[in-house]
Amino acid sequence: MKPVAFDYQRPASVEDAVALLQAHGRSAKLLSGGQSLGPMLNMRLVRPEVVIDLNDLLELDYVREAADVIEIGALTRHHRLATAPEILRALPLLAYAAATIGHFAIRQRGTIGGSLVHADPAAQLPLVAVTLAAEIVLRSAAGTRSIPAADFLQNVMTVDLNEDEMVVAIRFPKPSAAKAGWGMRLFSRRRGDFAIVSAAVWLRRNPDGRLADMRLGLGGVAPVPFRLHDLEDPDDEGAPGESWASDLAGQAAQRVEPEDAPGLPAVYRRELACNLLRGALTDALSLAGERHG
């Protein structure tokens, strides 16, 4: 099958792009890497009247490091996320997540902006954006607004994006690197496939070994990835002990209500969540330094 006939625009600047969006509204589709939109166009699952190709907007392909934030342009490709030195240093969880997306050719084209807007419940980048409390920066002809990733992602493939808006950047707060650790575990039936369930963890320890700060995220068990805020408060009991990861993962599993899917019973999905989170916690803790401080 082939895409329906559409008009095709190649704006040369973000201003042009948002002007086009304003003019065409709902009948337009933005094109970034095309790694999700492409198949949908080819199968005629979307039938836009206008496609606005953002690939000439090199101004949106950047990784910018400031004192307490790393800002990433919407058109930055997965491959760059996985290899950029700033990201590897300051946001290793993001770099790892990007490296696990699909396979080589997909990562050459796919972009962070496209992935967040596509909002597949199992996708890696939305999970990391939620876990690390990223802000999504949106532009329209009227101006700019920014919104936490957790609010941006509303439902399966549904985001808080007005029809005249586009994503221009994603801002990740730069976590402190001292005694910090991260972990990400993904479960897919075959290497390179979309994960079925995924878990992401970032944490930091005090010099005495106790947890100072922690973020837990789960993907693939609900319509959108989410954080387990109520489990993130480090308890005062001291440094995490032997059963810390299992206990925490077990509690997390009680909080998820996955749905049955063909060939994948909900109970198994919950079990995966528990397992993957335990693994991610263990990885994060060990990266953050010795168990008992």
């Binding site: 625009q9 190709d53 084209r109």
Partner: protein
Amino acid sequence: MNRPFGKCQMRVNGAETPFAAAPGRRLSEVLREDLGLTGTKVGCDAGDCGACTVLLDGAAVCACLTPSVRADGAEVVTVEGLGALVPRLQRSFLRHGAAQCGICTPGMLVAAAGLLRGTPAPDRAEVEEALGGVLCRCTGYAKIVDAVCDSAFEADPGEASPGPAAGAAVGARLERLDGGPKVTGAEMYGADHLPEGALEVRAIRSPHHAARFALGDVAAWAAAAPAPVHVFTAADIPGENLFGTIPVFVDQPALAEAHVRQRGEAVAIVVGETAALDALDFAAFPVTWQPEEAVTDLSAPLPDLHAGRPGNELIRGVVRCGDAIMALAGAAHVAEVTVDTAYVEHAYIEPEAGTAWIDGDTLVIRACTQAPVMDRDETAKVLGLPAERVRVIPAATGGGFGAKLDLSLQPLIGLAALKTGRPCRMVYSRAESMASTTKRHPARMTGRIGCDTAGRVTGMTFDGDFNTGAYASWGPTVAVRVPVHASGPYRMEHYHAVARAMHTNGPAAGAFRGFGVPQAALVQETLFDDLARAAGIDRLEFRLRNALVDGDRTVCGQRPGGIGIRDCLVALSVAWNRALAEAAAFNEAQGVVRRGVGVASCWYGCGNTGLPNPSTVRVGITAAGRLVLHQGAMDIGQGANTVVAQLCADALGLPVGQVSLVDGDTAKTPDCGKTSASRQTYVTGKAAMLAGRALRGTILAMSNMGEDAALSLEGDVLRVHDGRGSRDIRLADLPVDAHGYVLAAEETYDPPTVGLDADGQGEPYAVYGYGAQMAEVEVDTALGTVKVRRMTAAHDLGRVVNPLLAEGQVEGGIAQGLGMALMEEYVPGRTENLHDYLIPTFGDMPEIRSIFVEKPDPEGPMGVKGLGEHVLIPTAPAILNAIRHATGARITRLPALPHRVLAAIRAAR
């Protein structure tokens, strides 16, 4: 504010190339359709298969997801341009046997080229990472990785290696004779040939599993197109609107009339210029469906789908000897199991494609196929033409594995060409291919086997229902083959096996590597493990005790010669003991991950079951001294072109390098039957050997030389010499025959068989092949995931004609067996793409070690037995037995998805 982009320019393979980039046009389309660079393949249009991989400014991308406009001003490299870039890589692919059908090869080569530019000597992990997005269904990937890793050490191109000498072809590790075009991108598959002025054909297909339908105002719908389009329906079919594979079971309409029985069934075709079709909204095609109650599996009864098949039973096959019930009653140990298997999709990377055109008063069809002559006869019948007025030219075929035995688009493009008088091309989409073509039968099978205290099997019963879907296809073959083979290559004096092919509204299930035997083997091999445990005997030893040996009777009462199963099992024994010890040591740690080892056997009769299936081969020498072999056995990647030529060349006594091949074009080449039932190396190979020998006889008689004389063909002189003298035959002086040869021979060979009686007794096959495989697996007992670490495969080929190609068959067969065991489950309507339907990729494959046993067959040419299907049969049961050994989990439903494995592990605790 927009840059105009109507005229674009890219640098393709070094040449500045202007192109017109219409909105929505993909780079893959521009390359293939506008620039004629058909080396870039299309297998899915969704990023799933990687067949379309090209380098865009140096980076590998999927051309099917790249808008052509994005190539404006860019540097694009396709497979056609790789010769300049990585000349050794293509040679390395040939030398390693990394290309079988070749449809994935361009994508693999391009992805590898992208890697090699920055990493000239990559390790295996780097290769797997870079090529990981490209799927291959034939090779099992190992040879591809080898070829990329070793490419730096490949000899300079141009340094041609001298082929084997006369008489030394059989047994040589010869690279495939037809490989060249597969690595340059020049090979022409069904979709690659676009005759001048060709129209495009698209089908309207049923979205329902069963429905009545009525067409609406088709003309008004078609009028929306900017140029005229034609719509043809069942009413336009001039002949008998039914096709099939076995004469008495022909039941499938080319275009349905008022009623569809399965999803994906075509009800109309729309024919026109591509641009006109693109402008139409196929979702709005005027057809009203009245969906009917449908059942696609064996779970519930269903009103009869076809007259004359009460209870939806298409046919049943039976084999009975002795008294199995009595034997089981008296057995020391009895084990029983019920196994369920899933629909399995062939998932060749090439969706069906082909062209048809009129040449004088002949309709020519050039399409992918495994059976050119059957295509011709069935298409002629549907179109109301005499068979002589249809010519089938086989296109290079990008994998078949059984599904391209059946007709698919042939009658549709034939109809379009007949009606419009124009050349017509049709290319199935991935979804269309998956929905409408045949599958492996899902089966529900129950077996019981008993043995005595010494572990000798005394009797077996087997009862299986095979879901044959909406149409017969090869269901009868499956039902007949299964009871013959369900015993495995073991002695069973008391045996009763029944297999029924049952209709449902699922997709028609047909031929798929092994015709039901891979499913049946799961039952017997699972039970052998049960019994070995019960009797306290090592599982390999248990199989050795029961293996057939020469002189034994099979369950059909036949006494085949050259039975090699014992030799195969013995060949595994060293590895078996090593693997058991390793697994035990590993498991001492009591970790979450546990290792296990499993073994399973196969046997498989080559050729049709108790029915004639002749092949005819012609070999000739022209006046100019060209040695030509008319080799009609379709080579769908398995290597018939090469092995048949090797057998012929050695029988004739000329070097195989001098053989030129003529393919199975029905206008040029005698019938070699179907590429199925592992029959081509044996049956066509034997005809080729006989033809070679006959030609040699003619030459020796002409030159009055003895049997031991040697031949050499130098230009137009054929020299015959022995130690004492030499005689020259000047070919140009000889008269030319009707086929254009001065010397020629044609021979037919049909396997000697005896049809089966009502109890399934007879001599169903003249030649059998044997094998045994051992799986070493690792099971994560927390997640239920299974990683196959190593497969050791011992196969008795009788005589190894070509070890390189034989390894390729083993590795590819294991890949498919592994997929069937662990991941493949086709659900009609839900898995019609290559991301919901998973086939193994690089990371899933174990290390594979092939061991070839040569126990000559008295009937096969030079002792040869078949191999193509055997290789897949033991894989899944060996893996399941290894999972059981690792964890105690007895898996009875395939595929062994992680949640099923986990449930079975818990059930076993």
